[in-house]
Amino acid sequence: MTATTEINNIISEENLVYKKTSVLLDNEMHYCPGCTHGVIHKVIAEVIEEMDIQDKTIGVSPVGCSVLAYNYLDIDWQQAAHGRAPALATATARLMPDKYVFTYQGDGDLASIGCAEIIHACNRGENIVVVFVNNAIYGMTGGQMAPTTLDGQVTATSPYGRDCGSTGAPMKISEMVSLLPGTRFVTRQSAETAGAVRKLKKAIRKGFENTREKKGLSFIEIVGTCSSGWKLSPTQSNEWMKENMFPYYPLGTLKDE
């Protein structure tokens, strides 16, 4: 038997172990090669499919690279003004308590301009899932400094490296929101390895299960990469993230009540 024949024998429906979920649309993603958003979108879509909640899930997309998230998941979406996704989700979840509502926000959107909305949504314990993608930079506008940019990190608006003396220290949002009684589940995950993606999926599933059980707000931070903003290749970005981001933004669950 030749190698090609053997492969052709393996490639058959009964041997299928991993394929694109039907909740993910066929639209080609606009994200740069290697962008973590793609992995996170996929994981959310898989959880929605596995929990069979496609008809009950409403996503709220932010302003930033993931503004067009609604092009990729086959569910109803609301597109929010910059930073305001938690306010939209608040009303949506309160007016339709049997639905699954999640916000999808980057670090500029959530930690900078939307700081008030996220803190108060967390404090009120809105019955929603917040997916917070932290890659320490503004991607869409061209790589400017974010509240989560690391000390000394070079960005378009911190060209000599972030000076925490003048701009403040990188904000640890998960730690901040875990102090609020309204949050029930606060975790920081990543998506750079198969193991990390599996853990992330468990966390997102737990978030949606919390919604089902009306437990309140689940906050899932994902430390991700921005190879265009960081000016590194996708694989180099993962290495840079492990060396620089993980020590400051340690992975793990901060709160699970």
Binding site: T36, A194, V197
Partner: protein, 75 residues
């Protein structure tokens, strides 16, 4: 000898050649092609198919979800 024999199918036209699958593969099956797809990306492909164990690591980390994974018991 691995207990499982695997294979992947890459949607080469949608692949952006980021290479994350290449480094995620525990058995060094995947490489980026010398040629390019319609968008000019060096797409991923099975350079060493015999080594594939169908673990799905590549599929899991692929941001563009262009990899389908198959696995059969080794004969």
């Amino acid at each position: 000898m691995a207990k499982f024999k695997g294979a992947i199918v890459v949607d080469t036209e949608k692949c952006k050649g980021c290479g994350l699958c290449v480094v995620s593969c525990p058995t060094a099956v995947i490489e980026l092609a010398r040629g390019v797809n319609g968008k000019g990306y060096h797409y991923a492909h099975m350079a060493n198919p015999d080594a594939c164990i169908g673990c799905s690591s590549c599929g899991l980390v692929c941001p563009d979800t262009v990899i389908t994974v198959y696995r059969a018991k080794a004969s």
